[in-house]
Symmetry: C2
Subunit: 313 residues, 2 copies
């Protein structure tokens, strides 16, 4: 249960009086989420999600909050922030900065079908296009340099062969120049558990707190590596083709992107291989979350290395 | 059928490419609406309403469009405008300025119950509070002076007794000073047919194109005169009490408002008595709309004159 800050209905009543969303009917903690505290807030007007930010700093919030508002204004399936009577999206409750957003329909698809993969690809491309007019900027805090630094920290815990592969992959990414690729805002963590599916349609993208500016192709590769992967780390061809068809139906990949694609798929996997290795070998003190299996993304990379076909044709 | 400007799926395809809301599934004209052309636009992402503005001028649009966006950001049940890829709410189609908004749930309640009246009153108060932080300003184009001018135009068509009542009511309103009343943005036309009810809940307020700045009490009176009236122009006490209880549960009326209330109810009725008289006796050339019965609001005024109890206690 990831409710780090307790909120009672009595705490919430004066808070809700600063909003125009009616009276509290039900307040319920949300177990998911490892860095923020989230509640379902049901009022006489509808259902909302209240987030209390536990680690993000006040100066970091505008990038994320204004991004959510921007995407919602453009019809991207994402939570729309609700402003308070002072016309502010960020408020305060029990000493923590808060955000109140609309509740999205749908649930996580553990085993997505090809139609769902196509719809996610399509919405991802629409999100990239919508973000072009967003003025905010956030450097990717987990880019190639972070992968290299993290690899150096975790390599001593690994077998010689695995550490060699890790170092070789870091070296490949460090010597690849992605600067010619179309770039903009990326979600950077669009795994299955960050998308609510409403049947075969996208109910909403959630958890934008890794969003930053980077190559759009990086976002495509991160999402495809998760949405289309099998339990053994291989990629399911039918889902991958559907995902890319959905994406490129809205935004065609250019020549530079097609050329960078096989390497980017490995980079996107390396991003999560390194972070999971770090969580596994050097968990943050006091962290009670379940460290995810780091070897999954090693296998994804190994499959990409052996692969000949990258679903572009 | 009030589709003044024809739009085909072929017209819409390039238009929708400037948005992030998916591919067209269905396009359907909306019969309601007497001054704009409206379509239901169903896409792979959802259902939207497209408005082509037939009479509003480009310089008038920002007040309404930004107001809709402001209210939607605050969680008021109203249509949220969708921005295009240039981050603009207003676009152009077939030579007309356009607005694309989310589709709201619910349908018009012809015979509202007391719960529905209470919910509408509550949402109206929330809307008034939310509008305090809205920066736009629009003078009421149909204020007391317009009632007086219109009364002078239509009086020659009326019986002497009716014309006397009309002139007396105009005189009463012209000599009443409403300037001490709390004021802000008002919908100014919140009749039953401008609210979608989703069961007993407010699905959405629609048709904000009479919205302007005026006393909030004027908005309360306009809505109550319609939501709580009977076919003979009397007001149903149970619905009126429920409506006011819903409203004042969010925003209490102050002493000046309580004092002005009986007169304001007659002023709000006079607003529609005069405009319906004008539509009836001097229809705009070429207008094919059904002129509504002007005598209904005469009877509302007559009932208010005879009334002792105004549901405030």
């Amino acid at each position: 249960m990831s409710v780090f800050t307790t909120v009672t209905p009595d705490d919430l009543a004066p808070f809700l009086k600063r909003y125009c969303i009616g009276q509290l009917v039900e307040l319920k903690g949300i177990a998911a989420g490892v860095t923020n505290t989230n509640f379902f807030v049901t009022t006489t007007h509808g259902r909302y999600v209240l987030t209390l930010f536990e680690t993000l700093q006040a100066e970091e919030l505008p990038y994320y909050v204004n991004l959510l508002a921007h995407l919602a204004h453009h019809g991207i399936a994402s939570a729309a922030p609700i402003a308070n009577l002072d016309d502010q999206y960020v408020d305060t409750l029990n000493g923590k900065p808060t955000l109140l957003v609309t509740c999205l329909p749908g649930k996580v698809a553990e085993h997505p079908n090809t139609t769902q993969c196509a719809e996610v690809g399509e919405m991802l491309a629409q999100m990239h296009l919508a973000s072009r007019s967003y003025g905010g900027y956030m450097k990717n805090p987990r880019g190639v340099q972070w992968w290299a630094d993290t690899a150096a920290q975790v390599a001593p815990f690994m077998s010689a062969a695995d550490a060699d592969l890790l170092r070789a992959e870091v070296a490949l990414q460090q010597t690849t120049d992605y600067r010619a690729l179309p770039a903009g805002m990326v979600h950077a963590d669009l795994f299955r558990d960050n998308v609510l599916m409403d049947g075969d349609r996208v109910g909403g993208f959630i958890d934008f707190y890794y969003a930053c500016n980077d190559a759009w192709l990086y976002d495509v590769a991160i999402a495809l590596n998760d949405w289309c992967s099998t339990a053994d780390g291989d990629i399911d061809d039918a889902r991958a083709r559907a995902f890319l068809k959905g994406y490129t139906g809205v935004r065609e990949l250019d020549a530079a992107e097609k050329s960078a694609w096989p390497t980017m798929l490995r980079g996107a996997a390396l991003r999560f291989w390194t972070s999971r290795l770090l969580d596994f070998h050097k968990p943050a003190s006091g962290e009670m979350t379940f460290a995810k299996d780091p070897t999954h993304f090693q296998r994804v990379i190994e499959h990409h290395i052996r692969r000949q076909d990258f679903w572009l044709s």
